[in-house]
């Protein structure tokens, strides 16, 4: 059984269709990269998987560990092991980063039938996981994301992920806005969290991140459809050629939405548009 199976997903936001029948299969332990130009629907996919309100699912299914993911509230998805790393983490003044995380972790543990962690064990866990993202301990005692730099916010997301130990981590443009040092740290943190029972969906605009995290599969999302899927070499090809040729491909192939892209071999690259 796949960990995540998205079939023919169609999503609208305020009467505009953003995803036009997206299909995707992610197995345990795999790292998938979703790449695509701005406005292709990458973040919509991430938000729909995490259960953000405001999206209308007009067709399709999403199953997670064999269950209907779309029927669950966002907090239930989180408790069952789905994590969304935000592109723009939200500042929450007045709520301590540590205590908030403790409440979140205990909500997740409760769902898994585990007792609450006491303060000592929690701090031990937190210290250990902070090292993964080389996060300054002072950020623990500050309010959630308040006054954090862009890089600190992204590291804090990876830190939250490391503490919550999800089975499916969706990272929405975690690489955007990071300098190369921060990018390396974030990527190293993800690499260290890579495990046979944990899958990642990396949503990114640039190939850069994939220099540090080697994906098992790369999917190219254009105009709400996956137009190409392949191995890590597809990312390099995109880096060279840009997205223009794939956008042209998407326009010339209206049937692209019905393709089952993930398991199929890469579609031969036509010279069209180039």
């Amino acid at each position: 059984m796949s960990l995540l199976e998205v079939k023919n997903l169609q999503v609208r936001v305020e009467e505009r269709e953003i995803l036009h029948g997206l299909s995707l299969t992610v197995n345990k332990g795999e790292v998938h990269a979703i790449m695509g130009p701005n406005g292709s629907g990458k973040s919509t996919l991430a938000h729909v998987l995490a259960g953000r309100p405001g999206y209308q699912i007009t067709a399709g299914t999403v199953s997670y560990e064999g269950r209907d993911l779309l029927a669950l509230a966002p907090e239930e998805r989180a408790r069952q092991g789905v994590f969304l790393g935000f592109q723009y983490p939200v500042e929450i003044p007045g709520v301590s980063n540590t205590y908030f995380l403790k409440a979140a972790l205990n909500a997740v543990r409760k769902h898994r039938g585990l007792p609450d962690l006491d303060a000592v064990d929690f701090l031990k866990l937190v210290r250990q996981r902070m090292k993964l993202v080389q996060m300054d301990e002072s950020l623990l005692n500050r309010p959630v994301n308040e006054g954090f730099s862009g890089g600190e916010k992204k590291r804090n997301e990876i830190f939250h992920m490391a503490v919550l130990e999800p089975r499916l981590a969706v990272l929405d443009e975690t690489d955007s806005g990071l300098d190369i040092d921060a990018l390396r740290i974030v990527a190293a943190g993800v690499e260290r969290l890579r495990q046979p029972d944990r899958a990642f969906l990396l949503i990114t605009h640039y190939q850069r991140l994939l220099n540090y995290i080697v994906p098992d599969r790369v999917h190219v999302l254009v105009d709400g459809r996956i137009v190409r899927s392949g191995g890590k070499e597809l990312a390099l090809e995109l880096e060279e050629k840009g997205y223009a040729w794939l956008e042209a491909l998407a326009r010339s192939a209206p049937g692209a939405a019905t393709q089952a892209p993930a398991p199929s071999p890469a579609v031969p690259v036509p010279a069209a548009g180039a």
Binding site: R52, E75, G94, V95, F100, L101
Partner: protein, 544 residues
């Protein structure tokens, strides 16, 4: 927070002669020593429909009774100051008779309809006189006191230098600690009841009483002044430092018509409050606490006022807070009145040179609440902070009126008021910063933020600036918004349930006001209150 925000740094508004004339540079000083300064009734510009004179009538009748009760007191010293106070009360009742109850046609009361208060009948606890903190033999027992077990008081008290308890507006020495030299207070510090001071030596308070608190156009200040008799007096001499707070606790009880027999048994048990409730609703109580807090030159003082009660009643209070040059005063008003209560109270702050004053208004209870805070910064280099947090739900109405007078140069004032509204609550914030001519280098900031948790709640916010100096920095702003949907989703995406996420963000909204409370017991009580009031408060407790 989302919502419209207006942040308008104003450099200098040049005053026209007309507007300058329309706004007197200094609030007319009205006090015991200046009865002539009181306005004559014929000066009133109000029209008949602007005031409800019929509503005032029962109070006028009761004032005659009050006068008779005062005249029957044997202990009042025969001093010119005693007669000055009588004149002050007389002037105040005359003014109240002329002003009546304001209607919503008056700008200052536009959103606060007093009709329910005007229709309600109240009974005042009869005057009794205290001498030096002990009840005199002729005095009637404190009316509400037997109905309050020690537990009822202990619920509100904390470690303080002195705790003065007032029941239905009257000092209850048997429930108080540390007053009038019996406690560990350093010599020279006076913490006692106003009634006791008036009986012993009114000259201790007449230099200040009513001096800066005008009732010219404030009907409820006039009403309070007319019934001026009891309340708290806190006087710190020059250089005195009181490290622990002085706690003033005002408890109101349903007024028993006849002695309630059950109360004697009930006061011993834990379920006292419930068991003591008479079958027939008791008439509602009205009290007129009048407090005078004077921090002498270079002294340091923390004062906490707590208002609480049971059933329907009316608290009509005035607190005068005077900070002498260089004094540091930290003041708190915690309003935890019952949901059926009317609470209309004025805090008048007077700051002298280089004083540092902060006042925190925590308004949580009450059915109809009006808090007036007026500050006159009358010396150079004053720093004045006015913080507020108000929570309102159901059909609560909470009205905060602020007026900060920058009368001298080089003063700073910082106001931050935050409101959390749910249900069909209505709140009002009306704040005026008035910079007088010549008050250069004024640094005044005023901010009012409102969080609406329901679609039916209404927050009115009206911050205003009147600036008659040209080298000042004044900013004001107000926001009315809902919880940030992105933030709610962010928390939910980490496994926090929706109700808990909303509560957590609501708590976070209030947290900066909470954090500014320096008295640990007050801060802790407020936190506990919020955890109890917010849905899923246990999650909030764990997460903050």
């Amino acid at each position: 927070m989302t919502g419209q925000a207006t942040q308008q740094p104003l450099r200098a508004a040049v005053a026209t002669p007309e507007s300058a004339a329309a706004t007197p540079a200094v609030t007319p000083a009205v006090g015991a020593a200046h009865p002539a300064a009181l306005g004559a009734p014929e000066a009133i510009l109000l029209q008949a429909r602007d005031r409800d004179l019929a509503a005032a009538a029962p109070y006028l009748a009761d004032w005659e009774t009050f006068q008779r009760e005062l005249s029957e007191l044997p202990e009042l010293p025969d001093l010119p100051e005693t007669r000055e106070l009588s004149a002050l009360r007389q002037a105040a009742i005359d003014r109240f008779a002329a002003l009546g109850f304001p209607t919503t046609r008056q700008e200052e009361w536009r959103y606060t309809n007093l009709a329910p208060l005007a229709r309600a009948a109240f009974q005042r606890a009869p005057v009794r006189m205290l001498d030096g903190g002990a009840a005199s033999p002729s005095a009637a027992p404190v009316v509400g006191a037997p109905r309050l077990g020690p537990g009822a008081v202990a619920r509100w008290t904390f470690d303080a230098a002195a705790t003065l308890v007032f029941v239905d507006g009257q000092f209850a020495p048997e429930l108080s600690t540390g007053a009038a030299g019996e406690g560990p207070l350093p010599p020279g510090i006076l913490v006692t009841s106003l009634a006791a001071v008036l009986a012993r030596d009114p000259r201790l308070v007449t230099p200040w009483l009513g001096r800066h608190t005008s009732f010219q156009d404030q009907p409820f200040v006039a009403l309070n002044t007319a019934f001026l008799h009891d309340g708290a007096v806190v006087l710190l001499p020059r250089g005195a430092v009181l490290e622990r707070p002085v706690h003033l606790l005002y408890l109101s009880t349903p007024f028993p018509v006849a002695p309630v027999r059950r109360s004697r048994h009930a006061s011993a048990g834990a379920g006292a409050a419930a068991a003591a409730k008479p079958a027939v609703p008791a008439p509602a109580t009205v009290s007129f606490p009048r407090n005078l807090i004077v921090a002498g030159e270079g002294s340091q003082l923390t004062v906490v006022e707590t208002y609480a009660g049971e059933g329907a009643y009316f608290t009509c209070g005035v607190t005068e807070l005077i900070a002498a040059p260089g004094a540091v005063v930290d003041h708190y008003k915690v309003q935890r009145e019952s949901r059926e209560a009317y609470h209309l109270a004025t805090l008048q702050v007077y700051g002298d040179r280089a004083s540092v004053i902060s006042s925190h208004s925590i308004s949580l209870g009450g059915g109809l609440v009006r808090n007036d805070v007026n500050a006159l910064l009358d010396g150079e280099g004053i720093d004045c902070t006015l913080n507020g947090l108000y929570l309102a739900d159901g059909r609560q109405l909470v009205d905060n009126h602020m007026r900060v007078e920058h009368a001298k140069p080089h003063c700073g004032s910082h106001e931050l008021y935050k409101g959390i509204l749910d249900g069909k609550a209505r709140t009002v914030f009306n704040g005026l910063i008035h910079v007088h001519p010549g008050a250069q280098k004024t640094d005044a900031k005023q901010s009012n933020r409102n969080l609406l948790l329901s679609a039916d709640a209404i927050a009115n916010s009206n911050p205003r600036l009147e600036i008659f100096a040209d080298d000042v920095r004044c900013t004001h702003g107000s926001t009315v918004g809902q919880l940030d949907a992105d933030a709610v989703f962010y928390l939910r995406s980490r496994g926090i349930g929706e109700a808990a996420a909303r509560s957590l963000l609501t708590y976070a909204f209030a947290s900066d006001i909470v954090a500014r409370i320096k008295v640990e017991a007050v801060r802790h009580d407020l936190e506990e209150y919020l955890f109890a009031r917010l849905p899923q408060g246990e999650v909030v407790r764990q997460a903050v």
